[in-house]
Amino acid sequence: MNAEALKGHLELLLLAALQHQAAHGYAVVETLRARSGGVFDLPEGTIYPALHRMERAGLLSSAWSDASGRRRRIYQLTPRGQQALAQRQREWRQFASAIDAVAGA
């Protein structure tokens, strides 16, 4: 899928990928790829500015972890992030059903 088409929905996708468990960037990418059946295949490096931006906005928090001699930054949803996810999921369902009603007919 075109990375441009994903841009507007990236925050929703990242929030959703972190909904059930904290994860580092690579795991988030793998979750997106697995859940989308490989359709969401954006340049992986571009998710990090989005993760950092979401952290600054209070939607995510992060902590460094050292395992097997490797440093990873683990992200998790904050309560504000949970609220944002719920809201964006509602908006997305509304948007998707409207698009489907028009274009899918």
Binding site: H24, Y26, P43, G45, T46, P49, R53, R56, R72, R73
Partner: protein
């Protein structure tokens, strides 16, 4: 284990991030972990180390794409801060200019010109925004309070300054 390709990519990315002013050592540490994880995963699928590194790098995106994503984010943040500063400065200028004891219009005009020029130089993408943020308060206050329109000149000066700043930045980029 040899990670030459990954380290070469990270060194190039570090240079690109530094050039765009978005250099953060923590970013490189995070991306290094990502690349090592991706390489390991590909090796588990049977790829050679070299092929696994190439795949990890291809998936990460080119240095240009990744650096552009980070610098776009930084630019957005800087624009927000500068807009706040521009509005506060514009309001302060309009307050000072409206005082009965202040009669040096030349200084006000000069400050508007310089400030907008500086903003246009720092963030040349939207010069009109800097002109409006700094230069619209003086005429607005005067129109509301005295119903005269001569101070619209301040807005014109703001536009001249902002676009001049943008022009200087563009020339410097080309040189």
């Amino acid at each position: 284990m040899d990670h030459d390709q990954l380290e070469a990519y990270l060194a190039e990315l570090a240079r690109a991030l530094r050039a765009s002013g978005a250099d953060e050592p923590a970013v490189l540490t995070e991306l290094r972990g990502h690349l090592l994880d991706a390489t390991e995963q590909a090796e588990r699928r049977g790829l050679t180390q070299s092929a696994a590194q190439q795949e990890a790098l291809a998936r990460m995106g080119s240095v240009e794409v990744v650096a552009a994503a980070f610098s776009a984010d930084r630019r957005r943040m800087m624009t927000r801060w500068l807009l706040g500063i521009a509005i506060v400065c514009g309001l302060l200028l309009s307050y000072v200019d409206s005082r009965p004891t202040w009669d040096d219009t030349g200084i006000t005009a000069g400050v508007v010109l310089l400030l907008c020029g500086l903003l246009g130089l720092l963030a040349p993408r939207r010069p009109w925004m800097w002109a409006l943020a700094v230069g619209s308060w003086i005429p607005l206050l005067e129109i509301v309070s005295t119903h005269t329109y001569t101070s619209l000149l301040a807005l014109l000066i703001a536009f001249v300054g902002a676009y001049a700043g943008m022009g200087v930045r563009r020339l410097a980029q080309r040189a």
